[in-house]
């Protein structure tokens, strides 16, 4: 792992982006914290905590598209950019994530 700008950001490489099937999500347990990384069909990546704020549903197993994820347990929808739920007062934690040279780079604050 590498430190950037001497800030408190922690940058974590998660391995090749191809490991995530197109249009789906995968779970990475980073230092004990389960994080869902999604790879949208248009190539965009998103990362959220892998626990739905409603009842802890595994969001990585949800259906995604159009910048949204649907929780597989009770169908609540979240905006992948902001984490805000589309139809309620919930919000899920999101994390910056990008691809560099075919590898997923996650940033934890």
């Amino acid at each position: 792992m590498e430190m950037k700008h001497a800030s408190l950001e922690i940058v974590v490489p998660l391995g090749p982006v191809d490991a995530i099937p197109l249009g789906q999500g995968c779970t990475y347990v980073v230092d004990g914290c389960p994080i869902a990384v999604f790879r949208q069909r248009d190539g965009q990546l998103f990362a959220t905590k892998n626990a739905c704020p409603h009842r802890g549903g595994p969001l990585a197993d949800g259906i995604i598209g159009g910048g949204k994820v649907i929780c597989p347990l009770h169908g609540r929808q979240f905006d992948l950019k902001t984490g805000a739920s589309v139809d309620g007062d919930y919000a899920v934690q999101t994390y910056p994530v990008r691809v560099e040279g075919g590898e997923i780079i996650l940033t934890l604050a």
């Binding site: 779970t27 980073v30 994820v69």
Partner: protein, 806 residues
């Protein structure tokens, strides 16, 4: 005496009983309760009297609290005993020779029908409509009559008219005002309502004042102010109500039009309270249930010492007409009163639809929905909460084009009242769902009474179920296949075929400008698969997780595995293998399912392929929207009643159709005789053996809704059962909406039509349906084969562990 405070209530109608209930639910011990009721019954739902009159409900069905209830709660009820005196100095209520002393007195005497000054009215054949007894006398007298008139074209008058109509009479409604329901409707709405009533067979005479009753002892007609007359054998008066405030007035309480009360429902005597239609609060009288329940709650809070929100603030009233075949909801203002008011309206005369909103400062000052009341629940909430309205006014009248709720039920506060008839709040409904495990509108009704009177809140209750019962329910706009694509199923199918679209991503690209909508992926995948069968290009991201890993996701993210056991018949070897696998993988729970199979629950995703391989059995579809298992009884093989071999048939059915994808899950059963031990008649598809053959039942269900199946046909052989079941399944595949259970289709299309199409084959589609289902059977593969060859590497991948090196 036991030292408890003595609470006496005069009147055991809707308001009086409600206060007592509310008090008991807060503090069971504080009061010794005594009630006087002039009616000889317990307490019933007065609003349902019109149903009793039409015969759609039996008197027994409208009781809210039987006499036993009073006994069980240690309430002394003097039923059939009007209170006749209040001795305020000695704090005693008297009636029928009984004396009851009180510390606190509540008057809830309601009101009575207003009788207008009509000459010679004291005749046989003149009725008011207020109590259960009225209902019964009207009904009895109507038997000897041909024509009836109703005086008064308000809410009650119209309900009475409908009731009389269903007793087989010619009915005329006479109204003084130039249109019907003048309190709740403007002229235009009134005119449309009049047309609907007339189409139903009720005549109307508007702008007519009755001045004299004609006939001798018995009524034979009515005479109007303009000298004209109407022949009629009976008349029901429904010209408004008068509070029963005489008793209070006679014993010195302040009475204006009703008994005057303050925000605590206290009369001019601090130990005496009044609630309900007899009370006048801030100059207003209320004649509907919802406000009375508000009052009852406030009073109960006050008397038990926990008054919140500073007391009763008055209510905004909402009226719903309960006339079969006419939908009408009205709230607040009917005409604009301020030049700044925004008026939004829509009229469709041919269907009798009229919708109108009066908007003041971006809030709802009033609304009328006639003929189509889909958005009534939402409007009601916006009206009651005085909420800011969304920009798209049209959504408020027609619903959103995406099918998304206009007002998320999430956003309502827990104290928001949802059922106005019974005063049930969102909090109570949530509890009923989450703790009471209610899973259907009727269960919520049984547990909270919500939705059991006028039914106006049922749509909202459905939304609560979807949200809080944890059912992943999509809500496609009524006629579109999916809400984001404005196309009906046939239109969509045509476009898909014309453009040769074979995958979900291609569909978004071609038909939706490249915009993906995740909530529609699964529905579109199902459609594409039905259209193209083997040619369908399967993209796994369009599948629900269950269908990606072929097991059912559980609340903790693990999965349950259900090996296929055809017809529910297994062997020692199979049982042993299942037991071994369960032990080997330390499966936390083994459960016999409701469908006679064995579930291994709590399996982690990455264990799935190993579990399946070791089981060496086919996948039991306890997950996909597909044909699932076929339950069986022991039938003629062992049972002494068995008329047919239900085990053999059940196995054949399951072997043939299992796993075939359908718009929603399909549950099946086969039983050996009409005793129906495996419950064929509450399955989507069922077979019942009878002497000499089999009956095929379709469209039953015992899930969120309970529905008894309809008989599709009666045949002789197992093979014929398979043929008609196959036809039905294929027809459902082609015509069911996504997530519509088979019973939904049966109700929508109608069993008669289905018999014509599938059994009589009037349109000659039978052979094609038979061929299509055969094709689907042949194209089927066992999904568990993917254990050996995952479709993509991460298919059964568990979480990837990442260590932070510091």
């Amino acid at each position: 005496m036991d030292g408890r405070t003595r609470l006496v209530v005069i009147g055991n109608g809707m308001a009086g009983t409600k206060v007592v209930q509310e008090i008991l639910s807060r503090d069971r011990e504080r009061f010794h309760v005594v009630m006087f009721g002039s009616e000889p019954y317990g307490n019933y739902d007065r609003t349902l009297l019109s149903d009793v009159l039409t015969g759609s409900k039996d008197a027994k069905q409208i009781f809210l609290n039987s006499l036993d209830w009073y006994r069980d709660h240690n309430i002394t009820l003097h039923a059939g005993m009007p209170a006749t005196a209040i001795d305020r100095d000695n704090k005693i209520v008297r009636g029928g020779g009984i004396e009851e002393s009180y510390d606190t007195l509540i008057i809830a005497t309601g009101s009575r029908a207003l009788v207008p000054p009509v000459k010679a009215l004291e005749k046989i054949g003149v009725f008011v409509f207020r109590t259960l007894d009225d209902c019964q006398t009207i009904e009895a007298y109507a038997r000897g009559c041909r024509r009836a008139a109703v005086m008064g074209g308000g809410l009650l008058g119209l309900e009475a008219a409908r009731g009389l109509l269903s007793l087989g009479l010619q009915v005329t409604v006479v109204e003084m005002m130039p249109w019907l329901m003048a309190q709740q409707l403007d002229a235009e709405g009134g005119a449309l309502l009049q047309r609907s009533m007339e189409q139903m067979g009720v005549q109307t005479l508007l702008g007519k004042t009755v001045t004299r009753a004609l006939g001798g002892k018995r009524l034979t007609g009515l005479e109007f102010q303009d000298g004209t007359t109407l022949d009629t054998d009976m008349v029901v008066m429904s010209c408004g109500i008068r509070p029963n405030a005489e008793l209070a007035e006679r014993f010195g309480l302040a009475v204006d039009r009703g008994i005057v009360v303050n925000d605590r429902m206290q009369t001019s005597d601090p130990d005496i309270y009044a609630v309900g239609e007899c009370a006048q609060h801030r100059g207003k009288l209320y004649g509907l249930v919802a406000p009375l329940y508000d009052q009852a709650r406030v009073l109960a809070e006050h008397l038990t010492g926990v008054l919140s929100n500073g007391g009763y603030q008055g209510s905004r009233s909402i009226t719903k007409l309960k006339v079969m075949g006419i939908q009408l909801v009205s709230m607040g203002d009917t005409i604009p009163s301020d030049p700044q008011d925004e008026v939004v309206s829509y009229v469709e005369p041919s269907r009798g639809v009229y919708k109108k909103m009066i908007i003041r400062n971006n809030r709802l000052a009033g609304a009328t929905l006639l003929g189509e009341t889909d958005t009534a629940g939402v409007l009601t909430q916006m009206f009651l909460l005085n909420a800011e309205l969304p920009d798209r006014r049209a959504d408020l009248l027609f619903g959103t084009s995406t099918g998304a709720p206009i007002l998320s039920v999430f956003d309502l506060p827990d104290h928001a009242q949802i059922c106005h008839c019974h005063g049930v709040t969102k909090g109570q409904i949530k509890e009923a769902i989450e703790f009471g495990k209610c899973r259907s509108v009727s269960q919520i009704g049984a547990s909270t009474r919500a939705g059991t009177s006028c039914g106006g809140c049922k749509k909202l209750l459905e939304q609560f179920l979807e949200v809080y019962a944890g059912e992943v329910a999509l809500d496609p706009a009524e006629h579109w296949y999916v809400p984001s694509l404005p196309m009906t199923r046939p239109e969509l199918v045509a476009a898909i075929k014309a453009k040769g679209i074979k995958s979900v991503s291609a569909l978004f690209r071609e038909l939706n400008g490249g915009r993906e909508e995740p909530s529609h992926k699964a529905a579109l995948a199902s459609l594409l698969k039905t259209i193209w069968a083997g040619e369908y290009e399967d993209e796994r991201d369009a599948r629900f997780i269950n269908d990606r890993v072929h097991a059912n996701i559980q609340k903790d993210g693990t999965f349950s595995v259900v090996p296929r056991i055809y017809g529910g018949v297994t062997s020692p070897a199979e049982l042993r293998r299942i037991a071994d696998v369960a032990e080997r993988y330390q499966v936390p729970a083994i459960k016999l399912t409701g469908g006679q199979r064995i579930a291994l629950a709590g399996v982690r995703k990455e264990q799935l392929p190993h579990v399946w391989k070791d089981l060496g059995m086919a996948s039991g579809h306890a997950y996909t929207k597909a044909v699932r298992s076929c339950k069986t009884c022991v039938g003629s093989l062992f049972c002494r009643f068995g008329l047919g071999d239900s085990i053999a048939l059940g196995i054949k059915i399951e072997k043939r159709f299992h796993g075939i994808e359908t718009p929603h899950k399909m549950k099946l059963a086969a039983v050996g005789c009409p005793r129906n031990c495996a419950e064929s008649t509450v399955k989507d598809l069922g077979a019942v053996a009878i002497e000499g053959g089999w009956q095929v039942y379709v469209g039953g269900g015992a899930g969120t809704r309970v529905r008894a199946a309809d008989l599709l046909c009666t045949v002789k052989t197992h093979e014929e059962v398979l043929t008609y079941m196959g036809r039905f399944i294929q027809y459902y595949r082609e015509h069911g909406k996504y997530m519509e259970r088979a019973y939904g289709l049966v109700e929508r299309v109608g069993i008669d039509e289905l018999r014509e199409l599938l059994v009589k084959d009037v349109e000659g589609i039978g052979a094609r349906l038979d061929a299509e289902i055969e094709r689907a059977v042949e194209a089927r593969t066992d999904p568990w084969a993917e254990a050996d060859a995952p479709v993509y590497p991460a298919q059964f991948g568990g979480p990837v562990l990442v260590e932070l090196k510091r």
